[in-house]
């Protein structure tokens, strides 16, 4: 077994074991933390497809996280108030059914990614970074100034949304649901990165001219990657809304984009399980340092700085050695 595969296996088992042990010991808080790791990792898995494989440094992925969150929040709030979203030309009612909410989160994020990506991908480099950042902020300010869904105060989901056959109010069952979704998305991303699309996308990141010269248009590959990436992060947003039973414009803020990127980098960019390792490390640090100092972001900043300046492979890179990025062959 390759070393990285071993690390991935250990990570997965660890991520599964912690909440199970906590469940046995009736430690609800630990289960919630593990669920948060899973959801944030999922957001990172989405970004990693664009960032790691496609080389698209998007500082606007909070946009998709927020759209997913508000998809859950808006549908649930209408269901709670028995007030349909629209009655004309046809009736659309709110819902608390997770599958419907997820579908909406994925479709809405994908559509927004298609529109913003089509425009942003006309540029590259630092323009791309700034434009994705700006689009994210556009949604942030829009949600703040749009009063119908709580504006700056956000929206509460009083009772967690439901999934057929499960009691989502039970922390361990909700964790299981999120964990399965994470695994499914990891599988999808693994397949994508090994496909012809992945090969060409990864090559376009390294050498755009080469890809053009074999008759493949990098723009389309990147747009496709951006859309799938946005959809996965959007799904994570919907789960995050249900975890906290609350959504607010903060989900759209550029700090959220930055933090999702931090998970990816702390774990190891372009590593399949990088976001999982990164999100776990982030939550562990937050819990450990929050007790030591009120200002734990200073330590997080210092750690991030050290990783960027001196340990570029991230956590998995450190443990698995230099090779193994990309995931081909």
């Amino acid at each position: 077994m390759r070393r990285e595969t071993l690390i991935n296996t250990i990570l997965t088992l660890g991520l599964l074991a912690v909440p199970l042990v906590a469940w046995a010991m009736d430690e609800t808080y630990a289960i919630t933390l593990a669920t948060e790791v899973v959801i944030l990792a999922l957001a990172g898995v989405g970004l990693n497809l664009a960032l790691g494989l496609g080389g698209l440094v998007s500082l606007g992925h909070a946009m998709f996280f927020g759209i997913g969150g508000y998809a859950a929040g808006i549908l649930a709030s209408h269901a709670q108030s028995y007030d349909p979203i629209m009655e004309w030309p046809f009736l659309i009612e709110g819902t608390q059914s997770m599958p419907v909410i997820w579908l909406l989160a994925i479709v809405a994020s994908a559509l927004v990614a298609l529109a913003t990506g089509a425009l942003s991908l006309r540029t590259s480099g630092v323009y791309f970074i700034m434009i994705t950042l700006a689009f994210g902020q556009m949604f942030y300010y829009f949600t703040i100034s749009w009063p119908a869904y709580g504006g700056e105060d956000g929206l509460s989901i009083y009772v967690r949304d439901r999934f057929p056959g499960l009691n989502t109010l039970d922390p361990i069952q909700f964790f299981g649901l999120c964990f399965v979704l994470l695994m499914v998305c990891l599988f999808i991303v693994a397949r994508l990165s090994r496909s012809g699309f992945g090969l060409a996308l990864n090559a376009a990141r390294q050498n755009e001219t080469r890809v053009r010269a074999v008759g493949i248009e990098p723009y389309r590959l990147r747009l496709m990657a951006f859309v799938i990436s946005g959809a996965i992060t959007g799904l994570a947003g919907a789960l995050y809304a249900d975890l906290n039973r609350f959504v607010s414009p903060v989900m759209f803020s550029w700090h959220t984009s930055g933090e999702i990127m931090v998970f990816v980098i702390l774990g190891g960019v372009a590593r399949l399980f990088g976001p999982v390792a990164g999100a776990a490390l982030f939550i562990i640090l937050e819990e450990a340092l929050d007790g030591v100092s009120d200002y734990w972001h200073i330590y997080l900043g210092a750690l991030l700085l050290i990783v960027v300046l001196f340990a570029r492979g991230g956590l998995i890179g450190l443990l698995a050695g230099r090779n193994g990025g990309g995931g081909h062959d």
């Binding site: 960032l51 440094v57 500082l59 425009l119 006309r122 540029t123 480099g125 630092v126 323009y127 970074i129 700034m130 434009i131 950042l133 700006a134 689009f135 902020q137 556009m138 300010y141 829009f142 703040i144 100034s145 749009w146 009063p147 119908a148 550029w254 930055g258 990127m261 931090v262 980098i265 960019v269 200002y295 734990w296 972001h297 200073i298 997080l300 900043g301 210092a302 991030l304 700085l305 960027v308 300046l309 570029r312």
Partner: protein, 305 residues
């Protein structure tokens, strides 16, 4: 809506635009010459504002406060450049984004540690606290008018610096050819530190000037930073002229949008709905402006490929 209100808002937009220019000029200079994207530029704005507020409350002098903002931001710029930033020039944009994001976390939390989470206030100097009578019976705050004046003077000075002086020639040379400038016997490391410090000082100065109108608090630099990004994307990254035009466009669009859009929607909607829709659209207006410009010029108004 009457003419007086319109002119007042135009002046507000101009004042906002001029402040944005001070931020955007540093960003675009640093990107143009060193190829660095600096997310921590907003932190330098914040440092300038805090330094000014601290010195003003200690000495009571607004002039000293402004000088302190310049000095503190420039000093922070020099330290950051020498410790972190210069390691990033040869790195890709992703590393630059992450490292400067890390700097934001450190600066924001550090400032919160020293000054606390509550906003502090910097008073407008007594001499400028009143209003000025303008034509058409408009009375406009003297301080805001002074900001516009100061901003335009700085913009003009920067323009002279870039086009007419030896250091400006070096900056432009660095923009086009890093090796040539080295061959000219110019110490690149010192030049880069100086440019970074100049950009930092401009940001800190802007922070202090705006701090007297708004409150001085942690995180105040970030909304401005993002608007400054929009500004230089519109103007074309690396172009000082583009930064100036972009800043005025963004400042005016944002300010006028907030006033005019709700009025516009009131023509065919009930007032409360018009205010909501107008405000929501106004908050998006500059991004729509940016998107529209990028559709036609992907490298901005004055950008080169």
């Amino acid at each position: 809506m009457n003419l007086v209100l319109l002119i007042e808002q135009l002046l507000n937009g101009l004042q906002f635009g001029v402040m944005l220019f001070l931020m955007a000029a540093g960003l675009t200079l640093i990107f143009g010459v060193m190829g660095l994207i600096n997310l921590a530029h907003g932190s330098l704005y914040m440092i300038g504002a805090f330094a000014a507020a601290a010195v003003a409350s200690a000495t009571g002098s607004f002039t000293l406060a402004l000088m302190a903002s310049l000095a503190a931001a420039a000093l922070a710029g020099v330290i950051v450049e020498m410790v972190v930033i210069r390691r990033l020039y040869d790195r890709d944009h992703l590393d630059q984004v992450l490292a400067t994001f890390a700097l934001i976390l450190i600066f924001s939390e550090g400032t919160r540690w020293v000054f606390g989470s509550f906003p502090i206030y910097l008073d407008v100097p007594a001499a400028l606290s009143g209003g000025v009578n303008l034509p058409f019976g408009i009375r406009y705050p003297a301080y805001r008018l002074a900001i516009i004046g100061i901003g335009l003077v700085v913009a003009f000075g920067l323009f002279l610096l870039i086009t007419r002086t030896r250091i400006g020639m070096r900056i432009r040379a660095g923009e086009s050819d890093r090796e040539m400038i080295g061959a000219l016997g110019v110490n690149i490391a010192v030049l880069y530190t100086a440019i970074f410090a100049l950009g930092a000082a401009l940001a800190g100065f802007a922070g202090a000037l705006v701090g007297a109108i708004q409150s001085v608090e942690v995180g105040m630099g970030e909304p401005v930073l993002i608007l400054a990004f929009v500004t230089i994307v519109i103007g074309g990254i690396g172009s000082i002229r583009g930064a100036f035009v972009g800043a005025l466009l963004v400042g005016l669009t944002d300010t006028m949008g907030r006033v005019l859009l709700p009025i516009l929607f009131r023509a065919f909607m009930e007032p409360s709905a018009a205010t909501a829709v107008g405000a929501a659209l106004a908050s998006m207006s500059i991004y729509i402006l940016m998107a529209a410009i990028l559709l036609f010029k992907p490298t901005g108004l004055y950008g080169s490929a």
